[in-house]
Symmetry: C2
Subunit: 331 residues, 2 copies
């Protein structure tokens, strides 16, 4: 791919993306993913058009049916005439080419629909987590005029927490009979889930899983009510689906809409988006500062200071002070 | 605990710690763990005495026998007349009070031995990972004159990788019949393990686990040899132990000594310690810069810039530039 250098080119790419050209969207995402020269221009050109997409994160263990659920949500959004973007940060997702033929064929339903843009992203060493360029790719889809963006990520360890920081609404999927489901739930997903989905609800144990989840939610709420000053909080609903047969999808869509309305009414949507923007700005600034620390040369370089610390000639705090002096003087 | 303010107090604490006073060691670790006012003084006073301890990291899933193995290694080191420190960053460790009575009683063997210092550390939200103050606590034990420091951490997700960045030698423990063992191995422990231990080797499947591991190691080595320029690399041995009955501990001790010698001869020990010191200095500098970003007020504050980004009035890169200008000017 040739680099985009002139602002005019980026502006025209953004115009074409907003007009629904999937190749323009793909190229913009590539530009931000590669952190190329055009990255800053793309960010600047997109900014005035951002802040409109409703970002729904979907996470859960491999095999719970995240991609099938994503696919049914795409259909539901299209039926309402909404433009939809899908970002799959999931090595096992059919969008990333990692799944069974059947799944891949199913996703082809959307391949010829110009109102749907689908993109998979590599995780680059982040064990199953969210790719570093995900926030920028979300901005591309938002700026390109998507009404809804579905962010699918495989839930292992901290991925649920990461996806929750990027999404307006976080959906945690479980399936009956997967022992780790509720275990994982205890480990922290209760904190981040806005909507629980028990998929494959035609299987044995679905009702038990729903009951366990509701018990956990009630318990958490009871503990919290002891604090009289606690602000009103959203109670995550538990929705049963069989995504493969599109059963329960209406309930899921309704739960998502209720959460969207609740967030808007309680100022939570603005609060989350503000927090997300702050973290994004901070991460970019820290990455730049880290690069500056690494670029220092001579006796004050990180390498040279590391040698002094390893030899016991100085301590890490004094060494860090020397680094900081140089970075702030060099400004 | 009252804060330590005068340099004289810190100096005397370090002297007492070096003399083998366990309360002085405990107090120094508390000072660095609490990031108190005395932290910098402690770091400065310790620096001339650091760089001597041999740090052995032990990691593995819950239930593989990390604490029992740690305990047998403590005994082996004591039999050689070495001073030993143990840092347990593991919520399930008996050192952290989280295990069965039997384990706790076993660790009491060392409770009255002044040549052994044992400390557990909280992980503070890091899911099973390494506590943020661990590098400083290691420096305390090193500076206090420990010949060997055993760093025990429960292996979930990225913990193995984290412990490997702090240890001179990383031991990964597995047990037969734990299906996740080899799975986890595939996910990246091969990259970080210097020594594999198959503990509970009297159980069914131990030989199969050893065979699987050796096959994996051989496969990795074969792939690597295709690169003619690859430097010589340590081949991680696989040691069978029954730590509960102290079986195989001599083999483990010998494997650790061989790795120590190999690293010294190949310059790898210096390389690892230099890398560790660089990362430590960098982390302290970045934490300070992050605090400065958060402290900025007014229209250039992170909060205010986050609002502008969320509203589409600017993009995150331009906002980050404004933050950086302030931090570097304020230096």
């Amino acid at each position: 791919m040739t680099a985009v250098r002139a602002g005019r080119d980026v502006g025209s790419l953004v115009d074409r993306a907003r007009g629904g050209d999937p190749r323009a969207v793909a190229r913009l995402i590539s530009l931000v993913e590669d952190a190329s020269d055009g990255l800053r221009e793309v960010a600047a050109a997109l900014a005035p058009h951002t802040g409109r997409a409703y970002v729904i994160g979907l996470t859960g263990s491999p095999g719970v049916g995240k991609s099938t659920t994503t696919s049914t949500l795409v259909k539901a959004c299209r039926a309402q005439g909404k433009r939809v973007g899908v970002l799959a940060v999931d090595p096992s997702s059919p969008f990333s080419g990692g799944a069974l033929l059947g799944d891949r064929v199913r996703m082809q339903d959307h391949a010829t629909d110009s109102g749907v843009f689908i993109r998979s992203m590599a995780t680059r060493g982040h064990l199953g987590g969210v790719a570093w360029a995900t926030p920028q790719a979300l901005r591309v889809l938002d700026g390109a005029g998507c009404d809804v963006v579905l962010l699918e990520t495989v839930g292992v360890g901290q991925a649920e927490v990461e996806v929750a920081t990027l999404a307006d609404t976080t959906v945690v999927l479980l399936a009956p009979g997967m022992g780790d489901g509720i275990q994982a739930a205890k480990a922290g997903i209760l904190e981040v889930a806005d909507v629980f989905v028990v998929n494959k609800a035609d299987r044995d144990g679905a009702d038990a899983t729903v009951r366990d989840l509701r018990g956990m939610i009630a318990l958490g709420e009871r503990d919290r009510r002891r604090d009289a000053d606690a602000p009103p909080r959203w109670q995550p609903p538990v929705v049963k689906t069989v995504a493969m047969r599109s059963e329960g999808v209406d309930d899921l869509v309704e739960a998502l809409e209720r959460h969207h309305v609740w967030m808007t009414e309680h100022g939570e949507l603005d609060r989350r988006r503000h927090e997300r923007a702050c973290r994004e700005v901070e991460a970019i600034a820290l990455a730049a500062l880290r690069a500056r620390l690494g670029d220092l040369g001579g006796r004050g370089s990180l390498e040279a200071l590391g040698s002094k610390v390893a030899a016991g000639a100085t301590d890490p705090y004094a060494a860090a002070d020397l680094l900081l002096e140089q970075v702030t003087d060099a400004g």
